[in-house]
């Protein structure tokens, strides 16, 4: 991660704007998003429901429902080539082969009437033109790779005959079957038990290192992020509120929203206290406040916050935040730590 920043980025999203044109008006689902991803790097996009994180993933994959979705501006460069300008057929070939995706709910993402081995093998048949028998053999290999016991025997089983964790492993096997450069995982562990979550994340991390993939992890689970991510982008109402390496976010979060998220993690040692939830709801995307989108819910909001929209700016090396008072929050934190 340290040396990769000098190399050409694998994926670069610049000023991405995604709109949804609805009867109620135009909803700005993603507004001026900038992220870069290098090989072997894990970028976590963090945010609550409706913050635009899944829409970002869909835009990158080129699977946005259009209409009502619409990419209003910006570019998504894969190895320097703009995906948005690419012909559809070429883009389809990239999907699955170079840029792949893992979905949230493995049960509904697998075809219930087809054997899992067939479904993994389909990746080889579609993209590599491999014959049926060979595809099945490769599918079994992939199943072994993601740790499914008795893979040879179970390749003929149907999705409903597997447990949740095993199904997610099958999804992972499909996603990495063709050795992609970029893997997007959209809340890969949300539908799983906590213990299984850890196993699946460990597997993902291990495979990422093995294949040297760039991983975009879309999640709202801060616990998952801390373990595996290198960089974090916190999204709120379609904008990046704060972005930095994972260490800075946890040690010196500069945006009140990030702080709110961190404070709302349940703690084992504070069982008698009420959970610090962020009050209120995200604003409607069709009706954004003129100032900072977080200002209606922010405990520190001033009149300036309500009228003037803060731009994302660098507040420390590799650490950006969109808050007028970002520096104040960091220094306040340092003051707190000094006496100790």
């Amino acid at each position: 991660m340290t040396n990769s920043s000098t190399a050409e980025p694998l994926l670069e999203v610049r000023d991405l704007q995604v709109e949804f044109r609805t009867k109620a008006g135009t909803a700005q689902a993603v507004n001026g998003l900038n992220v870069t991803l290098h090989a072997g790097e894990t970028l976590a996009i963090l945010g609550e429901s409706g913050s635009g994180k899944s829409v970002t993933a869909q835009a990158i994959m080129g699977i946005l429902d259009m209409p009502p979705g619409h990419i209003a501006g910006g570019e998504i460069r894969y190895r320097g080539e703009d995906l948005l300008q690419m012909p559809d057929e070429r883009r389809r070939r990239l999907r699955g082969m170079n840029i792949s995706m893992i979905f949230q709910d493995a049960l509904s993402s697998l075809n219930p009437v087809l054997p899992v081995g067939w479904q993994i093998g389909e990746m080889f048949r579609v993209h590599r033109g491999v014959k049926r028998r060979e595809a099945r053999q490769k599918a079994v290999e992939m199943m072994e790779r993601v740790g499914i016991p008795a893979a040879e025997k179970r390749a003929g089983d149907f999705p409903h005959q597997f447990s949740g964790g095993m199904r997610q492993r099958i999804m992972i096997a499909m996603a990495i079957a063709l050795d992609p450069d970029v893997l997007i995982a959209d809340e890969p562990t949300t539908a799983l038990d906590v213990t299984v979550q850890a196993q699946v994340m460990r597997l993902l991390k291990q495979l990422q290192e093995e294949f040297n993939m760039g991983l975009i992890l879309i999640t709202h689970d801060l616990g998952v992020v801390a373990d595996v991510a290198d960089k974090i982008a916190v999204m709120y109402a379609g904008r990046v509120m704060e972005a930095s390496d994972v260490y800075s976010i946890y040690s010196s979060a500069a945006h009140p929203y990030t702080r709110g998220l961190l404070a709302s993690i349940p703690r084992v040692d504070g069982a008698d206290e009420r959970l610090d939830a962020i009050p209120g709801l995200p604003p409607a995307l069709t009706d954004m406040p003129p100032g900072c989108p977080f200002s209606p819910r922010c405990a520190f909001a001033t009149d300036r916050c309500r009228t003037e929209r803060p731009e994302l700016r660098e507040i420390a090396a590799g650490h950006t935040a969109a808050c007028h008072y970002a520096e104040d929050f960091i220094t306040a934190e340092e003051d707190q730590h000094e006496p100790a």
């Binding site: 699977i63 990239l94 995706m101 075809n111 087809l114 409903h160």
Partner: protein, 309 residues
């Protein structure tokens, strides 16, 4: 087989509230459906009768003493006898040979029509739903147009033009029957289109045609199978209706329909000419109806008729 017997044996204990023990591994769908189907008595009867009819059509030629075009001038309009098992018509044709041949012809037309119509309907219906947009508008518009067209008249004219060639009749019957099923499949596929595994395979770069063929169609397979059996019945009846009205197959070619037509003309003087082909036709359609009913129950997990498996 041993699996079945254990379940049946423990099934006897269901009376006192204990459910039969589940097998250790979930059984395959085919096995499950077969067992549910086999538990349905009327469906099994239907299957046996249908099997006998097919066997009759296939082996009949080995037993018949006369060809269906051969004329026996010594036996005109004679009732069933040791020589002519089903009797003869006024021209001296052996009715047994004619029924065997007519049954073959009717079955061939029915199977071809039902298979063709089901495949066409599945392709058009699922494609319309998957591709959406203008493709969907065009295809569904065409289906609705056909539904409002008096297709029977068109079919009657076309088959009359062809001189009663059974292949042409099959084609026009396919053309006449596919769109009702296509519309049903379209509406079902609409909800299938929104399912995540369809989107997922699109995300993975699977081409649209492959998604329709390999992901959508297998999901409506049970509907297709049931409709295929119903389609066979429909095709038999339509072919019979066409032939009965004189638009179907032409002599010397015979089908059940054309035989019934001849028989109906002479029902008072030589009733056997009507009863034998009519009986075979009835057995054929009823047995198929029982089979399709049994299949529907076997495929439908909410149906009480098959019992729990």
């Amino acid at each position: 087989m041993s699996n079945v017997t254990t379940v049946q044996a423990s099934g006897g204990a269901t009376g006192d509230g204990t459910r039969p023990r589940r097998p250790r591994r979930p059984m395959s769908k085919t096995k499950l459906y077969t067992r549910r189907f086999m538990r349905n008595k009327s469906a099994v009867v239907g299957l046996v009768v249908f099997g006998l009819i097919v066997a009759f059509a296939l082996t009949g030629p080995f037993f018949q003493r006369y060809d269906h075009v051969e004329l026996d001038f010594l036996a005109l309009s004679e009732g069933p006898s040791a020589d002519h098992w089903f009797g003869t018509n006024s021209g001296g044709n052996d009715l047994f040979a004619q029924v065997v041949f007519g049954l073959q012809r009717s079955l061939m037309i029915a199977l071809a029509v039902s298979s063709g119509a089901t495949v066409l309907a599945a392709l058009v219906g699922a494609s319309a739903a998957y591709f959406g947009g203008n493709v969907e508008k065009a295809l569904v518009g065409f289906i609705h147009f056909l539904m409002a067209t008096p297709t029977f008249l068109i079919v009657a004219m076309m088959s009359e033009d062809s001189g009663g060639d059974w292949r042409v009749i099959s084609l026009v019957l396919i053309f006449m029957t596919w769109f009702f099923l296509a519309r049903t499949i379209w509406t079902l596929s609409l909800s299938l289109r929104e399912r995540e595994f369809i989107t997922a395979s699109r995300y993975m770069g699977v081409p649209g045609v492959m998604i329709v063929l390999r992901h959508m169609v297998p999901n409506i397979a049970s509907l297709l199978i049931v409709n295929w059996t119903l389609g066979v019945i429909q095709a038999v009846q339509m072919e019979t209706a066409l032939s009965f009205l004189g638009f179907g197959v032409k002599l010397p070619d015979v089908s059940l329909g054309s035989l019934i037509r001849v028989g109906a003309d002479t029902i008072t003087s030589s009733p056997w000419l009507f009863y034998f082909p009519a009986a075979v036709l009835t057995l054929l359609t009823v047995s198929l109806a029982l089979i399709s009913d049994g299949l529907r129950d076997a495929f439908d997990p909410t149906s009480g008729a098959g019992g729990h498996a």
